[in-house]
Symmetry: C2
């Protein structure tokens, strides 16, 4: 495969209409964006089939189209040009005499802090989150429009990246296009962990790294401009030097890379995953990327490895995983949420973490499940937390929609408790965050109410109060 | 003026290409978006002239183009159709038997919380910030893609609005397009105060209001679905019922409306502001809005009233305002930041609030100024804080760019202190927040370093440490 595609790529002429801009612009295999997205759809379909899904069922029917569109949009930086962005946004601005000091259009540092961005990890194709801080020192009596620092950063974020290369490319592009006395870029990046390592609280368990790059006057150990830059970033509560929680630079930050397993492991049907790996490689090609460039070697395998964690499971899997609520060990438990109520006591298991894969966009959604049910009176019928965790894992760890997952968990609990079940799922959806709408802080809650909880509003209210009381610092 | 334009508007046929959609779509006066934006440019030019500015100077030359583009983009909701957004995003989803409970595609509540939006205040044309929470109860075994709740809300946010009408329109549009069992919308909105009421900390001094709207099963005092919705929103730390800091519903929330002054007051040259008011009215017309609709009466006057707070001032104004640093009262002061240093002591005045108007986009930027200078030794040459505040107001309260303002303040301080001056300005730019790039949390720092601060890095570092130490909870 590799040789053929490499030749294919080499044979394609650069589609750029401006020769100066070649370095900012990776050629497209198909000139027309819509065609390129269409070309991705069969690849996404192959992934769905490899996951054991029926690509004709309603929820998945348009998934190839949606995934292609989102992936194209999320990598639009390949088709953007830095000079187009900066052009016309350089403003003459009087500075001060250099002997007197530095300010205005000469030497007075300008720093835009807390630019929120998203990028795709080049090692595994999952989105990662970035807090970006960009500074520059104006030169030649001209300053650049502030929004351009954000726009130029986004051009490079909207490509397959790793944090250090992103910092380098943003720094280099700003230096070349603004021609200032120096550029400073500091990034804090967060990568979603393996599903099994997700914790309840936002970004807990996430892999964090801080990276930076500097040019011109910011360079050199004695640069006081660099320490000023770090101080200005610190004014926003961000200590780039502390590096708490950062991975050692020598350890790859992508969790799928750092625990690399032989690529055949963990993939159940080798022949089907071979097809999936080829499909992902063809998606990279249709972005204009070279699947053979060093950093992308193994990326299709890693993405397939991630996806296969969410493959369709059948009843056999359930049994092998030792989970059936019907046989759940029922026993008296001290502690645990409880409240006396007509039909027995309300029992709660709250903040059970999960990570699912959105079937509409093939992107993770993750959060917590809160479960309430009624025991059979006098403490009979209490279910162990580990069984709930297994239940959440079973219904969560697959291609899902949050509404369905909520109902399925509630029905499973209700089938054992009989008296009633109530489930609240709270989740952040990467498809809401990293795609077009980019509603970074949005969070979705879904509710299912069965049996006694339906007819008794006070039971429902009590359960929600319980959730609220334990929600911690968010309240 | 009014009658002519009213007739003009009435004569325009609806440009919608889909008859069903007329309610979502206000007709455009010009069919082509670019033409409509072009039509706005002379109006913006008239505003610049009315402000006493030279519209040919470099920083303002392309301001009419930029303002028109930003205003068109910020009001794109007039040209969007809800049905286009929801179409194709309704997914069949099995629910539970209604007697058993409510979940999945039938009756299980779905709430997307913390959707961050921006809108334009219809009373004064300034942007306002919105935290939006949208819930609905699925019906007929189908759910809507989560991002559509955000996208539909944004259609109505991207129009001239007030908070209650925004809530009503989002609720009505979602009910009509999804046809669910009910819709709940809760908004928290923040409006920038008059420049003189801005305080240091983010959103302190801002005018806040909470509004909501509900339909179907959420209606009625006994609706437990509504109280569940409020509980789910409260899980994100937002208490819609507390309404702390909300304005009484009868008081208009727009600060330019609530302190309404006779429209001739505060506008120095009546003839020139008449022209400005007409210019703003023509901008409303080119959006397809009716400047005679009740809520827009007085809007052009209020926007001009806001702009005139930032009109170009000359030296006479400075003298009338009682401010010249040259004559600043110099006296010994106890307290106040100080640190011994070779050329006298470092004196600091930190966190001086300001509000300026970005000359590139005619939108506010606001924040704090930190000033450091060296006294003349033995406490001589200490300047009173009130003089710094007047200085900041003089250089801040006009059409500005942050880099220039920083330099101007530093030069003014240096001209008195002689030994050295250092200024850091930290600001949030509405042009970075409410326009295209929408980097909501971004914040820009600019630095000017003059005299002794340039040659002695330890003085510079000490000043920044001082700022950092007093930055409060942000650190």
């Amino acid at each position: 495969m590799g040789a053929l595609e490499g030749a294919h790529l080499a044979a394609v002429a650069c589609a750029c209409d401006d020769d100066e801009e070649q370095s900012d612009c990776i050629p497209l295999l198909a000139g027309d964006a819509a065609t390129a997205a269409d070309a991705m759809e069969p690849a996404v379909r192959a992934l769905l089939l490899g996951l054991g899904e029926d690509d004709r069922r309603e929820g998945l029917r348009r998934t190839p189209k949606r995934v292609s569109k989102a992936f194209r949009d999320g990598t639009r930086g390949y088709r953007q040009k830095v000079k187009d962005i900066v052009r016309g946004a350089l403003f003459p601005e009087v500075g001060v005499d250099k002997r007197t000091g530095s300010a205005g259009g000469t030497g007075g540092q300008v720093v835009v802090r807390d630019i929120e961005l998203f990028s795709y990890c080049e090692s595994c194709l999952l989105p990662f989150s970035i807090q970006c801080h960009v500074g520059y020192v104006p030169s030649g009596g001209r300053v650049v429009g502030l929004s351009k620092l954000s726009r130029v950063s986004d051009v490079f974020a909207k490509r397959l990246q790793n944090p250090q290369r992103l910092a380098n490319e943003v720094c280099g592009a700003l230096h070349a296009s603004i021609q200032p006395a120096g550029v400073a870029v500091a990034l804090q990046c967060w990568h979603i962990p393996l599903p099994e390592n997700l914790e309840c609280k936002t970004l807990q368990g996430w892999i964090r790294t801080s990276r930076s790059c500097r040019s011109g006057l910011f360079e050199g150990e004695s640069s006081t401009l660099w320490s000023d830059f770090l101080a200005l970033v610190k004014l926003r509560g961000i200590d780039m030097e502390a590096g708490t929680g950062d991975r050692c630079v020598s350890v790859p930050w992508c969790p799928l890379r750092s625990r690399e397993v032989p690529l055949s492991n963990g993939l159940c049907k080798k022949s089907s995953t071979n097809g999936m790996v080829s499909a992902v490689a063809s998606m990279l090609l249709s972005l204009g990327e070279d699947p053979l460039r060093k950093e992308l070697l193994g990326t299709p395998q890693r993405y397939v490895q991630w996806l296969m964690k969410f493959r369709a499971r059948n009843l056999l899997d359930v049994k092998l995983n030792g989970f059936t609520l019907g046989n759940a060990s029922l026993h008296e438990r001290p502690g645990g949420g409880t409240a006396d109520h007509g039909h027995g006591s309300i029992r709660t298991e709250l903040h059970l973490p999960f990570c699912a894969q959105c079937e509409h966009h093939l992107l993770p959604f993750y959060g917590v499940v809160h479960i309430g049910y009624l025991d059979k009176g006098s403490g009979e019928g209490i279910i162990d937390r580990s069984h709930f965790q297994a239940l959440v894992r079973f219904y969560g760890c697959k291609l899902q929609v949050q509404e369905r997952m909520t109902r399925q968990i509630a029905e499973a609990v209700h089938s054992v408790s009989r008296n009633g079940a109530m489930v609240v799922v709270e989740a952040s959806h990467m498809c809401m965050i990293s795609r077009g709408v980019e509603k970074i802080r949005s969070n979705t809650a879904t509710v299912a109410v069965l049996g006694h909880f339906l007819t008794d509003p006070s039971a429902k209210a009590r359960f929600l109060q319980n959730v609220l009381r334990t929600a911690g610092s968010a309240v």
